[in-house]
């Protein structure tokens, strides 16, 4: 295994190898990544990935912050699908505290998480298209991310780093405008996605660029601990939503798409199909919401669920509780818990050790981008430089999740 060995430096003047610094800031890498490549013509002989350019010490910070102050940190992991991270963190704490949330909250969460998954996959798939030369599709589908952000805005007031939700539910109920916008999205997005697929799925240029490039076998993928759409594109049907259902995913009817060869084209197809499944999940959740009592948007856990702002401003008791909760004054069980959710890029895990203090004793994020990316340099060996670029796009490496 010669993965990630030191850079091969060849001082032989006859050598025809060229050292190329791809990144840290390069327009084609969509983030802060550096790869030092040895090139023989256009072919990559070896490469070394250097990461950590936006490392922000989240795990250290988390050891000094009460639970509610950790939610904004999770926003900044995979910032293309922050709500999944937020929900994953809330569910981890709920698991620690043995809180059961009402069904309606589960369904609302599924709506938000699947919207986030769609926005994450839109980024990845449109960027594969962009990097293979199809700018139209990129601009065309990208506007739906804007619509998703508008829905977030109605739900929580923020767009990118959402900080959605509370331990036990949401800070407020979805308003009518939010539901109207979700329904509008459900009507308009499938039309656009179908058109997107019709532009690319059978596109000769796109297939020539992507099919058979960067093939990964299931054995390699599992060996490198891959998860998410990348693993599924190799043919392994592992999805945390099915394997360990959380948030009532087991009540829903959806399929886990898998690929066959693990190449870039398969990853693209898997992500596209997941968007269709997400649309169907949101539709099912909207349908199920009709059978649930309106106005329920959080569990009855006054010890951990922040009181309503009107109460806090007008009522001493609520004010005290507000401060106690924000400052982490309320005891949580001394325990350790691992909770995983299916993030946009794979298994997003939270390993939380609580020792009864205000803050976690230790919090570790299992970040799928970090773990998936470890194969990148190895995969690039023998590949054309232009293929390595779209390979990186198709892995959807998000710098925030890579570096934590």
């Amino acid at each position: 295994m010669n993965h990630n060995q030191p850079v091969y430096t060849d001082n032989d003047p006859q050598s025809e190898l060229v050292t190329l610094n791809l990144g840290p800031t390069h327009p084609a890498t969509h983030g802060v990544f550096q790869n030092v490549l040895q090139l023989d013509g256009e072919r990559i002989v070896s490469g070394v990935s250097t990461i950590g350019y936006i490392h922000r010490a989240f795990e250290k910070i988390a050891e000094h912050r009460p639970f509610y102050q950790i939610t904004p940190l999770t926003d900044r992991l995979n910032y293309c699908s922050s709500p999944i991270n937020n929900m994953g963190w809330h569910m981890t704490v709920e698991k620690l505290l043995n809180i059961t949330v009402p069904k309606r909250v589960d369904y609302l969460r599924i709506i938000v998480m699947e919207l986030a998954r769609i926005s994450d996959h839109i980024i990845c798939n449109t960027i594969i298209a962009q990097d293979t030369g199809a700018t139209t599709t990129f601009l065309y589908l990208f506007q739906f991310r804007e619509h998703i952000y508008e829905i977030y805005e109605e739900i929580c007031g923020a767009r990118l780093t959402t900080n959605i939700g509370r331990i036990g539910g949401f800070e407020r109920d979805f308003n009518d405008i939010a539901f109207t916008k979700i329904n509008k999205f459900l009507k308009e997005f499938p039309v656009a996605l179908r058109e997107f697929e019709s532009l690319l799925n059978r596109n000769r240029i796109f297939i020539d660029r992507t099919a058979g490039v960067a093939c990964v076998t299931p054995e390699q993928a599992l060996d490198y601990s891959w998860s998410g759409p990348l693993l599924r594109a190799t043919g392994v049907d592992y999805d945390v939503r099915v394997s360990e259902p959380y948030c009532s995913y087991d009540e829903f009817d959806f399929e886990v798409p898998v690929g066959t060869s693990g190449d870039i084209y398969d990853r693209y197809l898997v992500r596209n199909e997941e968007m269709w499944q997400s649309v169907s999940l949101i539709e099912q959740a909207m349908e199920k919401l009709k059978g649930e009592p309106a106005g329920v948007f959080h569990a009855d856990v006054p010890d951990f669920y922040l009181p309503a702002k009107e109460e806090v401003y007008n009522n001493m008791e609520a004010l005290i509780y507000h401060f106690k909760i924000v400052m982490g004054e309320i005891d949580a069980p001394k325990a350790e818990v691992y909770h995983a959710v299916e993030g946009g890029n794979g298994e997003l895990g939270f390993y939380l050790i609580n020792d009864g203090g205000r803050t976690p004793y230790r919090l570790h994020f299992r970040r799928p981008s970090f773990i998936n990316y470890s194969m990148y340099a190895k995969m690039s060996e023998g590949m054309l430089l232009s293929d390595a670029i779209i390979n990186m796009s198709s892995m959807n490496i998000i710098a925030g999740e890579l570096d934590a």
Binding site: H3, K60, E63, K95, L96, V236, R362
Partner: protein
């Protein structure tokens, strides 16, 4: 295929390793065992390759520092995707001699996980092909997740923890 569950795995481990595997616990349903660093590679290989355990997927490697007992716990999360069970394996090593055999002989995915653990806790994974810092700069001369290192610059006077209720 025989059913694989927490109790069957506990039985398998007890038969094979006896007292070398201890501290069996199931917090929130996740089987947790402790072992020692002289058998950790054997334990991981056994868990990965034995039929009836088949934890073939390495989910994560990380560490936890316990300064009161002078220990660093290296924590492995393994996953059996077919039977949908997980196991957590902990190894307590002394913080002054933080060495443990590498798991890269079993999974290539362990490479970066161990580099991250080394970077933040100083755990030296013996036999690792390229054990160097991954997220922090190479010039950093501490392993910042150890508990003795404060979050913020201790010389600052305007950010004392007690002012912030921390």
């Amino acid at each position: 295929m025989a059913e694989v569950n927490n109790s069957s795995v506990i039985q398998l481990l007890a038969d094979r390793f006896g007292a070398k595997v201890s501290g069996v616990n199931e917090p929130y349903g996740l089987l947790t065992v402790e072992t020692t660093k002289d058998v950790i590679t054997d334990v991981l290989r056994f868990l990965k390759e034995t039929e009836g355990a088949a934890f073939s997927f390495l989910t994560d490697i990380t560490a936890v520092h316990y300064p009161e007992t002078n220990h660093i716990a290296v924590v492995y999360h393994l996953h059996n995707m077919v039977n949908k069970i997980r196991i957590r394996v902990k190894v307590f090593i002394h913080e002054h001699t933080p060495t443990i055999p590498t798991a890269t002989v079993l999974w290539n995915g362990a490479n970066w996980m161990e580099r991250e653990t080394y970077d933040f806790f100083g755990v030296k994974f013996e036999g690792h092909p390229n054990l160097k810092r991954i997220l922090n700069m190479d010039e950093l001369n501490v392993h910042p997740m150890l508990k003795q290192y404060p979050l913020e610059d201790p010389n600052r006077v305007d950010k004392k923890d007690e002012y912030f209720g921390r």
